[in-house]
């Protein structure tokens, strides 16, 4: 199966080249993809952890999120 391509537009000549990525470039692309997925998962986990901590705190205080917002306003 052919590798993905990249497009290069020469602004002086108007020439457009469609260039197949080298195996090394494909490996870089895949590494970036893996890292992006890891970053996304980490962000989601952090957000979930914060939401959980917030809910636990509200429960301990015995107030709702709206009531907490009112206190901070």
């Amino acid at each position: 199966m052919a590798n993905p391509t990249r497009v290069e537009v020469n602004c002086t000549t108007g020439e457009v080249l469609e260039i197949e990525l080298t195996d090394a470039e494909v490996a870089e692309l895949e590494a970036a993809q893996a890292q992006a997925e890891l970053d996304r998962a980490a962000k989601e986990a952090e957000a979930a952890e914060k939401a959980e901590a917030k809910a636990a705190l509200l429960k301990r205080l015995g107030i709702t999120a709206d009531e907490a917002a009112l206190l901070l306003a």
Binding site: P4, V7, V9, C11, V16, L29, Q35, A36, E37, R40
Partner: protein, 169 residues
Amino acid sequence: MANTYTLIQAQTLASAAASVTFSAIPATYTDIVLRVSARRAEAGRQDLLIKPNNDTSNNSGTNIQGSGAAATSNATSAQSIKIANIIPSTNETASTFCNAEFYMPNYAGSANKPSGTFGVGENNATTAYIVGNASLSQIASAISSVVLSLASGTFDTGSSFYLYGIKNS
């Protein structure tokens, strides 16, 4: 205030591509503007990366973004200019794209180059992103190329890229 706005080159993808490069950009304008309408060919919303002179280590910036549920801000440094979260993917509504404008004044000068980007990622659902980005490229040479890519994956067919030059006289 700019009084000319000239299309330098445009490219609409006939098939998915990992990146789009505008090379040999003439130094005859005052500012450059990139208009991007793009979508990711794979699943998962992605960041748009902009690399002046293909530089991936001398750009820093700040994103502010709203998703419809939350407003956040984040900073980046020593990497590509990163426009967070605006590229819709196959998870978003079919045929929706991002719309973004990247503006770099004095691109042909020898001083460091600030730039600004404003963009939205379309989606016919509750979550859709609007992003503003301010960046600084610590690049002393004239910008003669700009590489556009995603943090991960490929631009989908139909994604389009327009490069304009602006003169102040």
